[in-house]
């Protein structure tokens, strides 16, 4: 029953696919129930957002926006030689393009507000990233970040010290304490055998990592496999397949509308939009609740090439597709009835020093660490969420290394995939790999790290120097997980998705944001200095005038006693607290005497200066 007059809406197959039913995000039913993202703000952290274009302007949030490249509040993109600064605008359109304006397209969360942080169009440092991740973090609920380190298949990089601190601070204090939601694209390095576990943004526990699937339901040529990917949603594929239709900029060669948005860049904003729909129905979802709901509701689907494995908790994950496809209907219905997951519990093993050689394949180095009930007693950790392994390895060719992690259940995660293009000789220095494949499984038991060298014999062997295991999870038991799965399936009929049903939400925290002082301390000091200077000269000049006039002026006395001018009777009757009495008034003395009815104030006889002039009435 949903109809829009936006001319490109029929081509937005990812929203409603008439050609291949089911190959869409299943959002129309959510819209029909008036869930559109109202009350939620999504910020696109990118190269800018052209917020003046008619598909974005009505939903634009200036309060959540900023330009970190030019240091001003306006994130408008700048035209460039490559005509490339349209990226942020396209992502923004996917999320919140205005419907029924006879222009271009419709956004997933068309009722939400969309902000922009311009960050990528210039030199970028760790401190700038840190500012971006917490910018207006009490206004912006979701940060959509379709970027990351190079996907060249040989880069190992991620957020540095400040960026990491900002991500952590965002999930702790952002969104009134419920936690900012960071959505990142898993990367486009598929052709280079890249893996998103070499990207610290994608394998961070604080981010929702989203990959792409094409309209045929297959992994596109650019997509990366990854043990830390949560889910996938739709994007473009090869030349024969349709890409994503969304708003475009209209600067330079832009027309305001594009049918060619693709890559994992196009997938992440769709996920951000669906999360906005979730937050409308339940604003108090925490950042961990959002990740749990994705894990619980993502759908496995038929793909012969994907290695779907069902873990001990009943969740199916594949390195190609994460936990599966995101479906807005399932996400929103689950969010509606979701009660918050218990506090985050974690366990960190000691640093395990090994200093063992890494053999050539088919042989491998296996190291074990057992996590006992006693180890977990203090934190209360029972079931897993993310599992992280931090390693230090030296090897003459980093891309020849393969790392696999086995959880106590036996679930295997390829956390360090071999990369043929990575010939870096510096190995891994305290690099953290992670997996989500053991989500919901019991935490207690033996964890096995298997490392092997898939390169050739000509190079010297590498060495595993040390490693450390970090478990994240909660006090939920395996039984709690099963109960929650049953509860969610019961909600999928949509019976709770109406205004008459609403679980209570606790109030958020009131966290003041950093106030940007328009006047710097140095400017303030200058103003104070100038002010003192002006005050000094004012006093000096007044004194000079007074002292120079004193000799010629007569004493300020009256010729006769001063008489008060009659006050306004009305003011007196009304009991006015203040009366204004002029110091002197040029009136005819006889007239003034006739008017005066008040007390007489004796005054000295006036000096010679006043004689003969109009008398002064005090």
């Amino acid at each position: 029953s949903v109809h829009f007059n936006d001319p490109k809406y029929p081509q937005q197959w990812h929203l409603n696919n008439w050609r291949s039913p089911g190959r869409d995000i299943n959002v129309t039913g959510v819209w029909e129930r008036n869930v559109t993202g109202r009350g939620v703000t999504v910020v696109v952290v990118d190269d800018g957002v052209e917020h003046t274009i008619q598909d974005i302007a009505p939903n634009y949030s200036p309060e959540g926006s900023y330009d970190l490249n030019s240091n001003d509040p306006d994130p408008m993109p700048h035209p460039d030689a490559e005509n490339g600064n349209h990226h942020g605008t396209r992502c923004a359109g996917e999320i919140a393009a205005v419907p029924n304006n006879s222009f271009c397209a419709v956004g997933v969360a068309y009722g939400s507000r969309i902000a922009g942080i311009r960050l990528l169009d210039g030199p970028l440092t760790d401190s700038m990233e840190a500012v971006a991740f917490n910018k207006h973090y009490q206004i912006n609920d979701i940060y959509s970040c379709s970027w990351g380190p190079d996907d060249d298949g040989k880069t190992v990089d991620g957020p540095h010290q400040l960026g990491k601190a900002a991500l952590q601070h965002g999930v702790m204090a952002g969104r009134q304490g419920f936690g900012s939601i960071f959505v990142v694209a898993s990367g486009n390095g598929g052709q280079h055998n890249d893996n998103c576990n070499y990207d610290g943004y994608a394998n961070s526990i604080y981010t929702v990592t989203i990959g792409a699937v094409d309209e045929d339901g297959r992994m596109p040529f650019y997509a990366e496999e990854c043990a830390s990917m949560l889910a996938v949603t739709f994007s473009g594929g090869d030349k024969m397949l349709r890409s994503i239709v969304t708003t475009d900029w209209d600067l330079q060669k832009g027309t305001g509308c594009t049918e060619g948005h693709t890559g994992t860049s196009a997938a992440a904003p769709l996920a951000a939009g669906m999360i906005a729909l979730m937050l409308q129905v339940r604003p108090c979802l925490t950042w961990r609740d959002v990740q749990h709901i994705i894990v619980f509701t993502a759908t496995q689907y038929e793909d012969r090439h994907a290695d779907w494995i069902t873990n001990e908790a009943g969740f199916s994950h594949s390195h190609q597709h994460g936990f599966g496809l995101l479906k807005a209907w399932r996400l929103v219905n689950a969010a509606k009835i979701w009660t918050s997951v218990p506090y985050l519990a974690s366990y960190v093993s000691p640093v395990l020093k090994e200093n063992k050689a890494i053999p050539l394949s088919p042989h491998s180095l296996e190291v074990l660490w057992n996590v006992s009930r006693t180890d977990l007693a203090m934190s209360g950790l029972q079931t897993l969420e993310h599992v992280a392994v931090t390693v230090s390895i030296t090897h003459p060719r980093r891309g020849s290394l393969e790392l696999r992690l086995f959880c106590p259940s036996g679930m295997m995660s390829l956390i360090g995939a071999p990369r043929s293009m990575d010939s870096d000789p510096s190995g891994f220095e305290d690099w953290t790999f992670s997996t989500v494949r053991c989500w919901g499984e019991r935490a207690r038991g033996s964890y096995r790290l298997v490392v092997r060298d898939v390169g050739d014999e000509t190079l010297p062997a590498g060495t595993l120097h040390q490693w450390r295991l970090t478990l994240y999870g909660s006090a939920w038991s395996p039984g709690d997980i099963r109960d929650r799965q049953r509860l969610l399936e019961d909600a999928m009929s949509g019976k709770y998705l109406h205004d008459g049903f609403s679980l209570p939400c606790p109030p958020g925290l009131r966290i003041p944001e950093e106030v940007a002082y328009p006047i710097t301390p140095n400017t303030l000091k200058t103003l104070v200095l100038v002010g003192c200077f002006a005050a000094f000269w004012t006093v000096y000049y007044v004194l000079e005038v007074y002292l120079s006039q004193r000799d010629v002026a007569s004493p300020p006395v009256c010729q006769r006693p001063c008489r008060w001018l009659p006050r306004s009777r009305k003011a007196r009757e009304e009991g006015a607290e203040l009366e204004s009495v002029p110091l002197c008034s040029s009136k005819d003395p006889v007239e003034a005497e006739a008017e005066a009815a008040g007390p007489v104030i004796a005054a000295a006889a006036p000096g010679p200066g006043l004689r003969g002039r109009e008398e002064q009435v005090c």
Partner: protein
């Protein structure tokens, strides 16, 4: 007086350091932390550009904008590193380098 424009400002070609000072900020102590950051920046030959975003105790110190020769830059770097590495209030510091990031 040098205009730093705050931590959001970028100093093209400029040298900058992120510094994490020991926990000085709390209610009523923010001004003290800012003053200490100012003093430390001056001691290192830099200017305090202010707190980095919402990260308490983290400040950005910049060298006043201007193009430096390699030799000058190295001298500035050495002076800054010498002060920041030894100062008891500095929990952590790092010269800011350019990061390579790509749209996806």
């Amino acid at each position: 007086l040098p205009r730093t424009g705050g931590p959001e400002a970028r100093s093209p070609g400029g040298l900058s350091w992120a510094v994490h000072l020991d926990n000085l900020e709390g209610k009523g102590q923010e001004e003290t932390a800012e003053q200490k950051a100012d003093a430390l920046a001056r001691a290192a030959g830099l200017v305090n550009a202010g707190r980095i975003g919402e990260l308490q105790g983290h400040y950005l110190f910049v060298h006043p904008a201007g193009h430096h020769s390699d030799q000058q830059a190295e001298a500035i770097r050495q002076q800054a590193e010498a002060v920041l590495a030894r100062h008891e209030a500095v929990h952590w510091h790092s010269e800011q380098k350019l990061l390579k990031r790509a749209k996806r």
